[in-house]
């Protein structure tokens, strides 16, 4: 075979491939969202509410005026968790212990934060708190990571178990060593408003968002541009091949776990130091649960996560207002998220005949989801 065979991919074909890729993104990532909004509208109609009014209120409450800043504030922890999940899901490893990692880090930050900001320069306090939160989050993945790396233990189970333990330890810490003695309520001391993360000049958005965006960029760079990211991708796609290529799987598993836990920990720090200032027992926002669908919609692409997270932030911020106005519980937003998940599954199922690379799901989960027969059988050209 000659040179022509290698370079003969005609330009026309590569263009049509690109068009197909774009179409793929639209179908796979945007259609489920649109369908969910339509179906959500039908549900609203059935409940006797006006869907357009409801969605209009979401827009008003989540974007208009300075509302977009509230949405942006919510994005900070979402993005950091999304970065952590993207990182580890790329390796086809399921860190589902984000709630425990998050709350434990949050407890540590709110436990030491109020004291630390009084005693050291503010910038140093922030750095230390971020580092501590990251370390706690990472530490909480260590047991599942080591079990997975050395004994092949199913990490879905171990991370979930560790998550429950983490949530309860966080609660113990808040009632015990971190308890604010000035109040009978089971909560920590509160970080004074002026000692919280400063806002980005000209806005109310705290700089945690910048940390989050930076983390997303770093994760994206590492995953797509470095040899480490390639190794991770190989391990995720085909662990046996990774072993064949001489990749040190144990180290890779442990490091990616630690990285994921660290990012979740950072999310906790950004949220506590940027928004809440304290923590009380029983508080579990379970951010990870709600953003997992969006991580998949972004097809484990860290950059693509940003618009989806922004969309969800608007949905949840504006949704509070819209639900109030429509006299619905705010949980109605989760109905929408659930519908998105549902339609994702449907589209995944319908599109199963498309090529491998276009699925948002890693191979294991993909196979579990797929039924024995697809509807769209493309007839091949002769």
């Amino acid at each position: 075979m000659s040179e022509s065979a290698v370079t003969a991919a005609p330009a026309r074909r590569s263009v049509s491939l690109r068009v197909q890729k774009v179409a793929d993104v639209v179908i796979r990532s945007i259609v489920p969202v649109v369908l969910a909004l339509v179906a959500g509208g039908i549900v609203l109609l059935a409940l006797g509410r006006h869907p357009l009014g409801f969605y209009g209120n979401i827009w008003t409450g989540g974007v208009q005026g300075s509302a977009w800043q509230d949405s942006a504030i919510r994005m900070a922890p979402f993005l950091l968790i999304a970065a952590g999940l993207t990182l580890i899901f790329r390796a086809n490893i399921w860190n589902l212990g984000y709630n425990g990692q998050f709350l434990l880090s949050a407890a540590v930050v709110s436990g030491y934060g109020p004291r630390l900001v009084e005693h050291v320069p503010l910038w140093l306090a922030f750095v230390l708190l971020f580092l501590a939160a990251g370390a706690v989050g990472a530490l909480w993945t260590l047991v599942p990571a080591v079990l997975k790396a050395w004994y092949g233990t199913n990490e879905i189970i171990t991370t979930l178990m560790m998550s429950f333990i983490g949530i309860d330890i966080a609660s113990l810490l808040i009632k015990g060593p971190f308890h604010d003695p000035t109040t009978p309520l089971p909560q920590t001391a509160v970080v004074p408003l002026e000692k919280m993360l400063p806002p980005i000049p000209g806005t109310r958005i705290h700089v945690g968002l910048l940390v989050a965006v930076a983390a997303i960029l770093v994760v994206h760079f590492v995953l797509t541009r470095t040899s480490w990211g390639l190794r991770l991708q190989i391990m995720g796609a085909n662990p046996r091949a990774a072993r064949h290529f001489g990749i040190d799987l144990k180290r890779l598993i442990v490091v990616s776990f630690l990285g994921s836990g660290c990012l979740v920990g950072l999310a906790a720090c950004a949220d506590i130091m940027g928004l809440w200032g304290y923590i009380r027992t029983g508080w579990d926002p379970a951010y990870g649960d709600t953003i997992i669908p969006f991580v998949f919609l972004a097809r484990l692409n860290a950059l693509a996560v940003i618009p989806f997270i922004a969309f969800f932030a608007v949905l949840s911020t504006g949704g509070d207002l819209a639900a109030q106005q429509a006299n619905l519980p705010t949980d109605f937003i989760y109905v929408l998220v659930g519908l998105i998940l549902l339609f994702m599954t449907v589209i995944e199922y319908l599109g199963r005949q498309r090529s491998l690379g276009t699925s948002y799901l890693p191979p294991g989960l993909r196979q579990a989801l797929r039924g024995p027969r697809g509807f769209f059988r493309k007839k091949a050209a002769a």
Partner: protein
């Protein structure tokens, strides 16, 4: 004329069988008739307007390269796949075969290439598995049926042996019994010889003779020419989803083998005269067992395996106390029935599997504690047999797959960043050098054919100064042409001062290219046979071998 012999199912009415003799088929209604079968998959026309006629009492060989559409056609016959167009007639009546169960009901039994027996169950239990006509298991009836079928086939089967304990040849016999269990009249054998010893093949041939004498129709799939010629009554040649040639019973009996061979090769490779010549040459070589080349016996030992033990996994054995020496310029074959420790040996040498005992010395230095990458850098390479499972990352482009064993290494990565330009340039060179047929470097490697994927693996392992290369089933499942290319590459490696350890279950291959052949049996080296006339028989004996003769 011979009285028809019926394979009678236990409680079912026996299938009607026309009166046949072995060699006059003309006047009889064909058992199965495929007409205009067409099946398309995304991007490929797997079967294109295929006509095929199966007659009772005849072995019909389907010959074709990989990807020619053999498996699809078999899938259609055995109910796994539905054709887009075309009709299937059984006994002259149009039918659809909508599921494997339906195929069995219609009297079509299939023996797949790889064992489908459940290892932990006994032979009898395996046989009763598919039979769900009654709720209660009829143990006595099943024993009787097994005895009956074994007698017909002229084989001996212990009904209470666990499937896992049977040799592959015996497992296959059980599979054949299973396919015939419900009184099938058409038996499909998908590459049945690929796992067998030469003795096993001879035994299979005997079984086939008896089956056809009893009026069975057999479809025999292979890509080995000599098997098609010796075992087939008729041969159909598939290429790119079409039947491109057919040699009928008349021709098979009357024409000389040489002429038939030439005809088949011409049909298989059609309009590529240059390559046909090469293939024809290769065939000559196999047949005449050209005097094997010799490595100098005084050359340096480059790879020494000393008392090496490594664990097995699943159904595959580990190795125990294996010792081998490989000299510069030498090709050392490792023969043995599949599952006798081949994978453990290859992986322990390559560094993928931890050795529990013993040593691996490369140029006199121990590498047994070094990881894969370090051994790789010393010039030790491993061409895996599991191309799709571990040899490639299917979703990544061809170009990148050529470099997956050097991720992070200079000069292709600097400070952890990929040097895309450099990789693309070198990949283009490799693709050209190894004749990898790919639309572009950025094509996903999984989209390539098996042969081209193997070329990608070879290009990766044989580039950058290979010194000692372990080839594990390097031509398994490849077409004749690619096989020839691969063998040439191995010979070139040895001629250029490298050394090759070729692990293969294909004895013909080892005798064609090897200087010596070591026989692996039950995880141990049963013997070492220099490649000289008569080697095949000795290797065959050692393979089944209770006699551990040290013949070197």
């Amino acid at each position: 004329m011979r009285a028809p012999f019926r394979l009678v199912a236990g409680r079912r009415a026996p299938p009607r069988l026309s009166t046949v003799s072995n060699h006059t088929h003309e006047s009889v209604t064909p058992l199965v008739e495929l007409a205009g079968i067409t099946k398309a998959f995304p991007g490929v026309l797997a079967n294109d307007n295929i006509d095929l006629t199966l007659r009772a009492g005849a072995v019909h060989c389907l010959l074709g390269e990989n990807g020619a559409g053999k498996s699809t056609l078999i899938g259609i016959l055995s109910g796994l796949t539905q054709p887009d167009e075309g009709t299937i007639r059984i006994d002259g009546a149009v039918t659809t075969i909508s599921s494997p169960r339906r195929a069995l009901d219609r009297g079509i039994g299939t023996v797949h290439q790889h064992s489908t027996l459940i290892p932990a169950l006994t032979v009898l239990e395996n046989l009763m598995l598919g039979d769900t006509r009654r709720l209660r298991l009829d143990d006595a009836g099943a024993r009787e049926r097994l005895r009956e079928l074994a007698a017909q086939l002229g084989i001996e089967v212990d009904p209470d042996a666990k499937a896992v304990d049977l040799a592959l040849g015996h497992q296959q016999q059980v599979e054949i019994v299973k396919a015939l269990w419900r009184g099938s009249r058409v038996l499909i054998l998908d590459e049945p010889t690929s796992m067998l010893t030469p003795q096993g093949v001879a035994e299979l041939a005997k079984v086939l003779k008896r089956l056809t004498a009893q009026g069975q129709a057999v479809i025999f799939i292979t890509h080995k020419l000599h098997e098609a010629l010796t075992l087939g009554d008729e041969v159909s040649i598939l290429r790119q989803g079409r039947i491109v040639g057919r040699i009928d019973n008349e021709a098979m009996r009357t024409k000389p083998a040489e002429e038939l061979r030439a005809e088949i090769v011409r049909t298989m490779f059609g309009d590529e005269p240059a390559e046909v010549a090469e293939v024809a040459e290769l065939q000559e070589e196999i047949v005449e067992a050209k005097a094997p080349r010799r490595a100098r016996p005084d050359a340096d030992v480059v790879l020494e395996v000393r008392g090496l033990s490594a664990p097995g996994d699943g159904t595959e054995r580990g190795i125990e106390e294996v010792s081998l020496e490989l000299r510069e310029g030498e090709i050392l074959g490792v023969a043995g029935v599949d599952g006798n420790g081949q994978r453990a040996l290859a992986e322990a040498i390559a560094g993928q599997r931890r050795a529990t005992h013993g040593d691996v010395l490369l140029f006199g230095g121990s590498v047994v504690r070094l990881p894969v990458t370090a051994r790789q850098k010393l010039g030790l390479r491993y061409v895996t047999d599991d191309r799709l499972g571990e040899g490639i990352v299917g979703g990544l482009p061809v170009g990148l797959n050529l470099f997956l064993k050097r991720v992070g290494d200079r000069p292709f990565w600097r400070h952890g960043r990929m040097q895309r330009g450099l990789i693309d340039a070198r990949a283009a060179e490799l693709v050209r050098e190894y004749d990898v047929r790919t639309p572009s470097l950025s094509t996903r490697v999984a989209a390539l054919s098996g042969g081209n994927i193997q070329k990608v693996l070879l290009a990766r392992e044989l580039s950058f100064e290979p010194k000692v290369v372990v080839f594990h089933k390097p031509t398994y499942g490849l077409d004749v042409k690619t096989t020839a290319t691969v063998r040439d590459l191995i010979r070139d490696l040895a001629a250029g001062g490298g050394a090759a350890l070729v692990i293969s279950t294909d004895l013909d291959e080892l005798l064609e290219i090897g200087d010596r052949v070591a026989v692996l049996s039950r995880g141990r080296v049963a013997g070492l046979v220099p490649n000289e006339p008569g080697a095949a028989e000795r290797v065959g004996e050692l393979m089944v071998g209770d006699t551990a003769v040290e013949a070197a």
